[in-house]
Assembly symmetry: C2
Homo-oligomer: 412 residues x 2
């Protein structure tokens, strides 16, 4: 049975992962946290102790690591003796961390697709450019690698699998809908790393429709969604990781991702983008300083983890699957509603970090217990969703289903 | 008779100054252009020759200078043997250039108030913080220094003086109105150096009303103005140089400055300001690079001088003076209308640079001829406006008057 966990990263999501690992250290064993900045890891450990989150006595330790250096990560894996790595650092380090896991033979997971700093929005399917190139190596060495196991991507992939397997004979479309109806009270802020947030929206919006990749621009295609708890919400078709694996695993279905945006967000984004301030390419100031505009925008925006104390309201994120069952048109929405204030009270983070950080801990528990220890590289829709939902129900992200028969717990 | 001119700066305004000096080199003699970047001076010289702008055979020469270094400027003044310095570089160099002129005993002029890079919007009257501290030194050495002799400040100060002297017994208010009804066809651009442009609007809006300095915020006070040629236009009370000298010279009058802004400009400005991207104070990126956000915004925006070829439409800038004449309430608007395309055809610059660059050349001609060679430091409203208008009429910026009796040339 695999256990002992190394968390890479020390941002808002890492904080949630650390708290949840601590709450389940009877299953997960030793917990190590590593990032470039040791003090950020130490602050997370202090917050875990402050909440009394450790279920039992055990190891909870901070380390400094340069995660862009695969050898350094491998050395840390060996030194700490961990069996599972939860990578929730910036998406730029996925490949070196994955390589370190393959090298040392331990389980790997992440919550977002690998990105190269100087490239935005490469050719679809995105996973094919980086992670999937290690499929063979994982299979050969029997390494379990679960890609994109945050909320979206992650839980929503499991929702798609579950909705299709349970309610459809044939799937026609998979629409992931992500609505944050919360309010942070700032004039403007992104909910997670501004650099990663904006990079999502500056490139081509890829969707999979009519059996082929389709291209749109951001905010070109909008649609109103009437959702549980959060009500009627406008969302826009957005490029997102899970489209790229779901389209590969369900090529017969249209696969789209929709994210909710208010007019204020769209206005700020549009101004910054049109001025060139979201560019990942360096510019030179009149004084001769070379600087990447997006990194300056990040520097002036609020640190997303600072939003947590004032964040109120709820998120609703889920997957709409449509198709036929017994020859009849059928539609099911599998979803979760999370509350920002509840998340803060429990782990000191806002809801967006909470929904992203809880799922990889559930996945780590399933690996530790052997259920998801599949000895190969997979995306979440390739795994049995039910044991995942059972743990998520228990540790803070209950799954619900809404269809023509009503709105209920998935296992009601 | 003073002659031979050194132009400091090589931006859009300097280009206009160089062309206009060349067109009048029978009066102005040798023409030297100096800036940090020699190639920019050389490009201006090439453009002067391309338009065949030199009235007669004569010197037109480029120099490299660090204008923040007063000794370097003084050395260049001695080397070139000039008698008049037209400073149209960034406003950060006013004081060292002025000191070099006092040191060498030559005439000085500029078109904008001195600024320190790290300070925005100091206590009023602004001139009192820097330039006016050299009044005594100028008087002692008999140095002619004409402050703020662009269009606004500059020509509008002369408009105020002329309107008051000619049409009023007692002045009650001076309102300067600056409307650019032109279109550059870009998504967004400032019309002159973005750094200076935005710095004008991020601080307190000072006006002089009811015999005291009043404070407002930018875009807080708006007013519709019905103007010749450009029609009904919304303008906002704005902090601006000329308020600070006119309030000192006409303390009995309310003195306000109004600048026209479209909703698009206001939206972009508001987003950038509220995010902190217009700050002159450095921030540190996640990678540890220290950078001033405003300088990055400048780096991504279009170079204002690049707008000229596509700029169409007109500017209307003038001064409304109100008061009493023979016991009756009287109001007069003294103004100029300039055309962007005409400016480009004549000197290769857009209208905003043109209106700023022509007046200091007229002033230089008046110094060369002795008319304005006053051997002390003055603001423009302290000088006889009529010879100034006569030259401006001839060299491209005719003065008009509109009042209850109609709309006419000032000397009709």
């Amino acid at each position: 049975m695999k256990r002992n966990v190394l968390i890479i990263g020390a941002g808002g999501v890492a904080q949630v992962v650390a708290h949840k690992c601590a709450q389940n250290n009877d299953i997960l064993g030793d917990i190590h946290i590593a990032s470039r900045t040791l003090s950020k890891c130490e602050a997370i450990i202090a917050s875990v102790h402050e909440k009394g989150a450790m279920k039992g006595e055990g190891v909870l330790k901070a380390h400094a690591v340069n995660a862009r250096n695969s050898d350094e990560v491998a050395a840390l894996i060996r030194e700490t003796g961990v069996d599972i790595v939860i990578n929730v650092a910036q998406a730029f380090v996925n490949m070196p961390v994955l390589d370190a896991c393959i090298e040392t033979g331990v389980a790997y997971m992440d919550t977002a697709i690998h990105e190269e700093p100087n490239l935005i929005c490469e050719t679809p399917p995105w996973y094919g450019n980086y992670e999937w190139k290690r499929k063979e190596a994982c299979a050969e060495k029997g390494v379990t690698a679960i890609l994109g196991v945050g909320f979206d991507p992650g839980v929503v992939n499991a929702y798609a699998r579950y909705g299709i397997d349970t309610y459809l004979d044939a799937v026609a479309s998979i629409d992931i809908v992500d609505i944050n109806a919360g309010s942070h009270g700032r004039w403007f802020s992104t909910n997670f790393d501004p650099e990663i947030n904006f990079r999502e929206f500056t490139g081509t919006v890829y969707s999979w429709q009519n059996g082929a990749w389709q291209s749109n621009t951001m905010f070109e295609v909008g649609k109103e969604w009437d959702l549980p708890v959060v009500g009627m919400q406008k969302a826009y078709m957005t490029g997102h990781d899970e489209v790229h694996s779901l389209a590969t695993n369900y090529p017969q279905a249209d696969v789209r991702f929709w994210m909710g945006f208010g007019d204020h967000y769209i206005n700020v984004f549009t101004v910054l983008k049109n001025l060139g301030l979201l560019s990942e390419k360096p510019v030179t100031t009149a004084e001769g300083l070379e600087v990447i505009p997006l990194k300056v925008v990040k520097a002036v925006l609020p640190d997303p983890s600072s939003l947590a104390p004032d964040y109120v309201g709820k998120t609703c994120i889920g997957t709409v699957v449509k198709g036929t069952k017994d020859g009849k048109e059928t539609e099911v929405f599998v979803y979760n509603v999370a509350d920002h204030k509840d998340a803060y009270n429990e782990v000191g983070s806002q809801g967006i970090s909470y929904t992203a950080g809880v799922p990889p801990v559930a996945a780590a528990m399933l690996i530790a217990q052997g259920t998801w220890d599949v000895s190969k590289m997979v995306n979440v829709e390739e795994l049995d969703p039910k044991p995942f939902f059972e743990i998520l129900d228990r540790i803070g992200l209950p799954t619900r289903v809404k269809d023509a028969s009503g709105d209920r717990a998935w296992n009601a």
